[in-house]
């Protein structure tokens, strides 16, 4: 029952010029402006210390904004204590109450809302069914596996039917397989119920696979707010390009900008064509970003428009579905390319000199 686009508010949660400082000297969150639509799955992604968790805590009410407004459904919530905000929250280590059974854990938010016993039990049962844990009601959290605890924590955050659920790295403690399964499950539930989710993680794969939109945080600021594919393919600055996915960087100086093409002289003298993103004038230093899978060395596959350059093979790793090759390109020894393991693909030898190429669209000139 996802809300259809016409009904949903685009400004369900609003951060309006929010700043946060703990010590009065440095800002942990700098001038944050963010609108989250109803029913949206928004992920705050960033390295630790980037301010993403602080934003989440301000939204939950455990931290107060030093400056600016946070509005939920149009109402400022800066001065509302956490227990009156009606926001569900899933914590990093689940925070299931160890002295209560699963049922008691789920009934807790209903009890403090003074919901009658019968209704409470019905809701608890429904929530357990929702996460397919109906047989585990009488167990204690310590008797559950990590994944089961995760589900109970999710059910507990949803059982009192909040419109907004916050998740603070909820999958951090799970192993890789379970994490992937839970990613799928959380998104499925979120869309099924139609709740708004604000999700905090430092795992970019998680962010890309789960979210409607991702806000990349660094240094207390949102570096880019976009859909996952845009974020990956069209990073707006070098931080985002580095942080999301694997990325090759070549440094150089802009020589000329001509509409959608910028000519860049790399530090070793090579001249290449790029798409200018945030360079504006000749003479500026730039980092040129190319994704490893957009680079091709097989002449037959190389587009005629491709820009070619010589490279020396330093390392060739067979990874099953792909080959991963480390090259020396224009003085950079960490230039990585990934090629699909196709029947006609040639395997490279270490020390071999090859010619690689890419399209100018895939090569983005970013800030230095």
């Amino acid at each position: 029952m996802a809300l259809d686009a016409g009904n949903r508010k685009t400004d369900f949660v609003v951060f309006d010029r929010v700043q946060k400082s703990y010590d009065g000297e440095t800002l942990v969150v700098k001038d944050l402006n963010l609108d989250i639509a109803q029913g949206e799955f928004l992920t705050m992604l960033g390295p630790s210390g980037s301010g993403k968790t602080t934003c989440l805590m301000m939204l939950a009410g455990f931290e107060t904004a030093t400056h600016g407004d946070i509005r939920l459904d149009g109402k400022p919530i800066n001065n509302i204590p956490p227990h009156k905000r009606g926001i569900g929250m899933v914590f990093q280590n689940y925070a299931l109450f160890p002295h209560m059974t699963v049922q008691e854990n789920l009934a807790f938010p209903l009890e403090v809302r003074k919901i009658g016993k019968d209704e409470r039990e019905a809701k608890v049962r429904r929530a357990l069914e929702m996460v397919q844990m109906q047989d585990f009601g009488v167990r204690r959290p310590a008797q559950l596996s990590g994944g089961q605890q995760q589900r109970i924590a999710l059910a507990r955050a949803l059982v009192f039917e909040p419109e907004l659920v916050l998740m603070d790295e909820p999958l951090g403690a799970l192993d890789k397989q379970l994490r992937e399964r839970m990613q799928f499950e959380i998104t499925r539930l979120a869309h099924q119920i139609g709740i708004t989710v604000v999700y905090v993680t430092h795992d970019q794969t998680e962010a890309l696979t789960m979210s409607d939109r991702v806000a990349v945080f660094n240094d207390g600021k949102i570096q880019q707010l976009a859909e996952p594919d845009v974020l990956y393919e069209k990073p707006e600055n070098s931080f985002v390009a580095q942080f999301i996915g694997e990325n090759n960087t070549l440094t150089g100086t802009v020589q000329e900008i001509n509409g959608t093409v910028a000519t860049v002289r790399l530090d070793d003298g090579e001249i290449i064509d790029c798409t200018p993103v945030n360079v504006s004038r000749p003479g500026e230093r730039t980092q040129v970003s190319i994704r490893p899978e957009r680079v091709e060395y097989n002449r037959d596959r190389l587009s005629p428009d491709a820009h070619t350059i010589h490279a020396e093979v330093l390392e060739f790793i067979y990874m099953g579905d792909i080959f991963r090759t480390r090259l020396r390109v224009a003085g950079n020894e960490d230039f990585v390319i990934k090629t699909r393991n196709a029947p006609d693909q040639r395997r490279l030898q270490r020390g071999e000199t090859i010619e690689i190429g890419w399209l100018p669209e895939d090569c983005r000139a970013l800030d230095a």
Binding site: A60, G61, F62, P81, P82, H83, K84, R85, G86, I87, G88, M89, F91, Q92, N93, A95, F97, P98, H99, F108, P109, V112, R113, Q132, M133, S145, G147, Q148, R151, R156, A157, F160, L166, R181, E185, R188
Partner: protein, 552 residues
Amino acid sequence: MTDAAADAPIPKPDAGDRARPERQEPLVAADGRPLKKSLQRSLRRQKLRAFGLVAPLLLFVLVTFIAPIADMLFRSVENQIVSETLPNTTAALVGWDASGEDLPDDAAFAALSYDLAAAVEQRAHTRLGSRLNYETTGISSAFRRSGRGIDDVGEIYLDQFVALDPVWEDSGFWARMIGAEGWAHPAPFAPSAQAQGLLPETAAAYTAFARAMQIRNDDDPAAEEPWAPVYLALQRDLSAADAGDVSAWTGPGAEQLEAAHAAVGGFESVPVRDLIADVDDAWLEHDVWATIKTFSPPYTPGYFLTSVDLKLSPEGAIVAQDDYQRIHVLLFQRTLFMSLVIMGCTILLGYPIAYLISNMPMRTANLLLILVLLPFWTSLLVRTSAWKVLLQQQGVINDTLVWIGLVADDARLTMINNQFGTIVAMTHILLPFMILPLYSVMKTIPPSYVRAAKSLGATNWTAFWRVYFPQSVPGIGAGCILVFILSIGYYITPELVGGTTGTFISNRIAFHISSSLNWGLAAALGTILLVVVLVLYWLYDRIVGIDNVSLG
């Protein structure tokens, strides 16, 4: 969703079972020995090593802790002093019914004179008097007074025997006649079988005399004149023996014995009872004899009965202690009650502090913990004395209250030398024992629990009471056990600030150890205290579970 089953425990395929062949033969290690034996061998060395490491401590604990406690437990029931000091008397009293009206028979009176004469020689009669005085007041003076006259009992017969034949004054003759063949001084004196058969009381009396001589001064009995009670015994034996038996005597002194036997019927005689009554007329009291009889077994419940304000009456029945001596039950109750109050106070004061410290940044928390521990670094006496200074009637607090005008100068508060003073001082002293376990438990409660509760809609109080508090209970449990057990046996502080209404059972124990020297009673009180603590500990384990106690 495909994974609900995946998280549930999956029944293991039976591949694991198949991997093991049918194991009829035991597995062997590489050198051909059975695997189990090899494992045991290698483990045994580890065990020996571990044992070697703890052995010194184990020895220390055994010598300084287990042994004294065992000794204390033993002392609380041990009562050999009566049967050791009065062996003949207790033997003579076996057939006597203490619950009747009658005094014991003459044999008991006579035996008392033999035993007491020996006890006086060894200065043991006053100790026995003190021991029995715990049970029946006044008995010690009977023993003390008897000490002066007991060796004159039987003098009347001594004179007549000596008048009959001066050889009866010869100390060597006595030793030869009664002593076993081949006995000579440094060996402990032993009577001959013949003497024990014909002259049982004389043999006993002379043996008591001879042993007393040997033990007391290392004197040779053969060189010492027997004391008068021995002649009393001889008179009684000869009067009871018939002529045929006496003439059958083959040992030394046969003719003297025969002559004495012929003459003894004509001796001037006095009833034994009167002889003893002349020494002290307390011996005509039924209670004195009944007490000796009741406490003659080597083990007695008497100390324990006294500990709970009961006693064995001289007749051997369990009755309530006299009113003016009833104190122990009151003291036990007071000790338990005040320990509970002190425990409650430390929870009330310690919990908020521990909560505060556990929620502080590390640096501040460490500083505050040092402040909590600071009292540990000053002497207990100093702290207790400081409370005296503060709480006394001319003390700081009273002065301040008077100065402010809250209290009139002639109505100063009594805050010391009573229960209030003890509770205040002990709460202060024991507070760290509550704060530290609480703190160490609280530190491990992640703040995310309370946050989760709040995000689920709980107010601050609900979040604390429903989520935080239950998780801090193990800390409270540990603190309670520590504080309660420490305070139940506390001694110095109640002694210094407790006055009469604020003293604990431990002060009574100390009194019996060092002042009244009634160690048996002190041991019984201590044993009861130990049992109470163990029972409480057991109860606590049943109710709260000792696993829930966490010292961090």
